[in-house]
Symmetry: D2
Subunit: 111 residues, 4 copies
């Protein structure tokens, strides 16, 4: 696949990384931060996986399919956790993660 | 400054990182790759600085002003080198870098 | 300067990044996580700056001096915060940060 | 598994990332850089996978096994390519990659 074929997924990963980074920072400032531990952990993993998936797609690396499958797992876990919390940043993050799951699965499972 | 104040610069850094990552990968595939060495080196530095600036802005880190000043230097160097090459990816990268210089300077020099 | 001249600083940055990453993860699991917010934030910044400094030294980038100066600031802030907490991971992190401040200043201020 | 169980693999990933980063930078400066394209591409992928594996192990992330399996693939590909080139940096990189394959497989396949 060419970079063009990855365009949607690159955009979804980029938006998801931004949402997760913002969510982690906002969670850390919440009054009940002790309830946000798992959310922060999953946000941080999700940022890193999305950034790497984005990077490997931009390079058209041979590892794109595998990283997209793994990125989908990270996004799925983060989406489920974020959906439990009413904070705007968590709800927005859950949506960005959900879109990224679909975009990554479209790459990873097509392989 | 709040994340909202950083919105333009976050977007410029993200676009610049994507352009530089693509440019580095494309340069590496050019027939005359020996003429693209400096371009690849500066692209790689620029990606890393843009990603870090983006990240620190999203976290509203205390180091935002300093990283934006440094990111502007990396983008400026990359813009000047890319502008010398006629390849589409270099010309597009030069433009993304130039916009990012302006966005980063608006943050870093306002401080 | 050659990579050889950077050897000590590369090692200090690597050790500091590992200590900060571990400290952030451990802080997030502490019973009184609400007291560790600043520590986690500074740990995350310090990891990112150390990793980038390490990377630019390995590449002998033209931005080494500037990134080392900025990395020293991140390490200094993290060292001061970690030193306030009695947890083993914070005390170890404070020491790794302090060593990294010295190594980075030896590069950044020599310039 | 605890971070202690990951100690060997964290060290192997760190050493491999440093070797690959150095190798990529050195390849880019070789007289026959056109023969080093694949080596540079695989080095860059390998750095990124090693850094992420290292990071997820330090955080004891739920994705450790998967990222270690993927990191082993990246290291294997890089080891095979680097072994073809007589440059010292390539030979050293091939060895660091080979050690990292073994350390990552010990984590990823034990799961």
């Amino acid at each position: 696949m060419s970079t063009t074929a990855y365009t949607d997924c690159i955009q979804a990963c980029s938006a998801c990384a931004i949402a997760c980074e913002s969510c982690a920072a906002a969670c850390l400032r919440e009054p009940h931060v002790e309830q946000m531990r798992t959310c922060i952990q999953l946000d941080l993993d999700c940022v890193d996986l999305c950034r790497l998936a984005e990077r490997l797609m931009l390079r058209e690396s041979a590892l794109v399919d595998e990283i997209c499958r793994l990125c989908a797992l990270a996004c799925q876990a983060c989406a489920e956790e974020c959906a439990k919390h009413a904070h705007d940043h968590c709800q927005q993050c859950a949506q960005a993660c959900q879109r990224c799951v679909e975009a990554c699965e479209a790459i990873g499972l097509a392989a």
